[in-house]
């Protein structure tokens, strides 16, 4: 399809190789395994493939047709048109990792700016060039803590209010390591903001404490005591954050976090059914040399002009191999660019406006829902950002079904991950949701109740 070889080209090349046919180049492959008949669909031309993909996509209902209150780790924000226009430039998306700085200054400077923005946003000193997503960034935070204590501390304390998928991924990463305990997120410790019990789990064997801010339920919780307790025991503290929320909230760096990670999708990436997204990873100065992934640094060239390069590469797998801080190689380069452009075109005020709209509308929605018969705001005394939980008198599955009939994706059924939260529905509200949308939602729910 995309091979430019004319018959004549092939002949010239074969002649120069002194062989008769291309197949001769593959004689090293055991004959019985050569040229299998692959059971694949017939090849399509571009026009046919385009139509086929359109038709596949049309079997979905998207957030353009459905009014969506789904969040739980991925958020439907407005993406300024400049972001995608710039991302579609071939110079950005068809470039490789910037190992050759002389012909990669664009990518390098953009990553440097990304690092700067995330440092600013999180209040941290150092940020890497990305991890795969929030979940893997959380797992890598644990790996960092493990290696920081040279494997000597065995306890990894994780709040039950951390995204269940992050916790699942972290468990998968540590699966072979029987000696490592991931704890604190069982039903007994609980999801409530009763810190004391959770803090009580911290001891001298604790490598890392991981919390989320705002937490999985959207709640904004004060981790001061927890962080102090962790530090008192010499443990590291990692905070998973929602970057949009940080426009308005005290950054975790100021709260004393050692590691700040999170899902960068809200920073200009489409929902795209879950990926590609962006794991961001920031640490204190102290942990700089323990960080995994790529880092871009400023330097000068032979003429003394400013230049950017990948630096401290000795931490990475291609140099340190079995002793690297992580096996990560390809990361989310283009997504860091999307985030950088997104944050830049919104700028200081625009970014705060987005966050504030989310905050305000979510609070309006929570308030309205709370007034619908049969629904009650959970965690009513705890502040939240743009996601909140309501308890429903009816099974959530039924509620969601009813809403679906009105072209509403009603939110996330928490009973799936939290048995103790059966009949609890979680809703996210972004700047794209209008007051009218919220009123439509409550009207539909009212109607159901009176049905």
């Amino acid at each position: 399809m995309f091979t430019p070889h004319t018959q004549k080209d092939v002949e010239v090349m074969l002649t120069s190789l002194g062989i008769e046919k291309i197949e001769d180049l593959f004689s090293v492959i055991p004959e019985k395994f050569r040229y299998p008949a692959l059971n694949l669909p017939e090849q399509l031309t571009e026009m046919e493939a385009a139509a086929d993909l359109e038709s596949i996509a049309s079997a979905n209902g998207s957030t353009k047709e459905l009014l969506s209150f789904l969040g739980a780790g991925a958020y439907d924000h407005y993406i300024p048109a400049a972001v995608d226009n710039l991302l579609q430039r071939g110079e950005w998306y068809t470039a490789y990792t910037p190992y050759q700085p002389e012909v990669s200054q664009g990518t390098l400077q953009a990553i440097f700016e990304f690092q700067s923005l995330i440092c600013q946003l999180t209040g941290m000193a150092v940020c890497n060039a990305s991890h795969y997503d929030g979940a893997t960034a959380a797992a890598e935070a644990a790996i960092l803590a493990d290696s920081h204590f040279r494997g000597k501390r065995k306890k990894f304390l994780v709040s039950r209010a951390v995204n269940p998928q992050y916790r699942a991924v972290m468990r998968t990463y540590f699966r072979p390591h029987d000696d490592i305990q991931i704890l604190g997120d069982d039903q007994e410790t609980g999801i409530d903001a009763d810190m004391a019990k959770f803090i009580g789990l911290i001891d001298k064997d604790t490598a890392l404490v991981l919390v989320q801010y705002p937490d999985f339920f959207g709640r904004v919780i004060d981790y001061k005591a927890l962080i102090d307790a962790a530090h008192a025991h010499g443990a590291l503290v990692a905070v998973a954050t929602n970057p949009t929320a940080l426009a308005l909230l005290t950054p975790p760096g100021e709260l004393g976090a050692d590691i700040v990670i999170g899902e960068g999708q809200p920073l200009g990436m489409p929902l795209s059914y879950g990926g590609p997204y962006l794991g961001y990873f920031a640490v204190t100065e102290d942990l700089l040399r323990k960080i995994s992934g790529r880092l871009v640094g400023q330097t000068t060239d032979m003429d003394g002009n400013l230049a950017y390069v990948l630096t401290l590469t000795a931490r990475e797998q291609h140099i340190r191999r079995g002793k690297a801080t992580s096996n990560i190689c390809s990361n989310q380069g283009l997504m860091t660019l999307a985030a950088t452009i997104y944050m830049t075109v919104l700028g200081k005020e625009g970014f705060k406006e987005v966050a504030n709209l989310c905050y305000q509308k979510a609070h309006f929605a929570a308030d309205q829902l709370n007034q619908v018969d049969g629904y009650q705001l959970a965690f009513a005394d705890t502040p939240f950002f743009h996601e909140f939980v309501v308890k429903s008198e009816r099974p959530v599955a039924e509620v969601l079904e009813w809403l679906r009939e009105h072209d509403i994706l009603g939110g996330y059924d928490l009973g799936q991950d939290y048995p103790e939260l059966e009949n609890h529905l979680m809703l996210a509200v972004t700047e794209k949701i209008s007051r009218e949308d919220i009123e439509f939602l409550t009207a539909v729910l009212e109607e159901e109740y009176h049905d």
């Binding site: 399809m1 079997a59 012909v103």
Partner: protein
Amino acid sequence: MTEPTIFEMSSPGRRGVKMPVSDVPEVALPKGFERQELNFPEISELEAVRHFTRLSQLNHAIDTGFYPLGSCTMKYNPKINEATSRISGFANTHPLQPEDTVQGNLYLMYELQKMLAEIGGFAGATLQPAAGAHGELVGALMIHAYHKDRGDHQRVRMLIPDSAHGTNPATSAMVGFEIVPLATDARGNVDLENLKSLVDDRLAGLMLTNPNTLGLFDENVEEVIKIVHDAGGLVYGDGANMNAILGVTQPGKIGFDILHYNLHKTFSTPHGGGGPGSGPVMVAERLLDFLPDPVVGIIEEGDDENPPLYGLVSPAKTIGRIKAFHGHFGIHVRAFTYISMLGAKGLRDAAEKAVLNANYMQEKLKGSYTLPYDRSCMHEFVLEGFWDDVPGIQALDIAKRLIDYGIHPPTNYFPLIVKEALMIEPTETENLETLDRFVEVMLKIAEEARTQPELLKNAPHHAPIKRADELKAAKELVLRCYPKY
């Protein structure tokens, strides 16, 4: 002209994209959590567009020129992939939507799993891994889980050829395996004697890249696999080099137990200046139950009237979830588009032309550069980037000099077993004129090395910057725009 950073371009009060005023009653922020300061840039939209347009022009990219970067498969990224992955029905679906509202996505993933398994000759696949290294992690975790499931707790040793990519040992280390280096023989194959001496009942497995990082297909691959299997180990295939053998042979049929692809290499999805990648992992029958949770399956069979109902299912002995949600779905759409357009015929054609291109260039260059393993190569080949009669010239100098001719340097200093390695992969999407020009330039550089070595030492001369001071970068660390964060 150096481009200032977005922070340097900022001016207080300047606005980019504005947001609407709120249409709901205002409530206060949570007390005690109010952020004091957000030091974000304040730039107009026009200046932002200019900044990122100008920056982009400082990059070399597939879309601007030849990119013979070994092991990276910098082939053409079809523009149609970018269009299909942006179709609203794909781009605007939330990963947690009820399955009945995303049957299009699930169908696509199901089919892609099937197609990828078929191409590799495997029984099943997961699309979750975010990149090649992430796929390796899944593979290594499955190897661990497999042995554990059988009670083989003593299997802790992972054999890794000395030619392997850094991610192989790094991954094995993450999973807790003991890394056992395996030698390469004089023909560039796994050293069979060495292999035999290393296998015993502590063997967990072997991570084999085939074609390997020398661009060579292991001549004894069947025997290598047999030795490992006989010793109770599993063979993991690093499929980074699958572009050489698409449609030509199926690793799964040869005996590999597990294999990852890099969709961003072999299946034409963009590299994006470092990512996102996507590293689906294929497995043989006996490992199906260990795949990450979930995979896409058929929940209800279809019939003449109705399509099947697709859904997410958990493999019986799954190693668990390896990534949030469903992997890099946007990349899956691109790879699906690509495979749809190539079909079996096109895949084979791609591999054949990739290998033809590499052999042609190898043949033309081997007189002027030392070819350490002088045999027919696959999709790439490795030269030595130095000459005994030209002291002082290194692979790096040759690489940088190529920039002056508008060509991206080959991968250098990898694999480690070749001195001053220059690893060259043209890919199948380059035409003969481009290959000939590369050869011509390489020969010219070989001559320059002798006549004007300083031309190489100080290269590049025609690039946005001169050679960068990497030592200084590491010594005087500057990792963000502002001292204060």
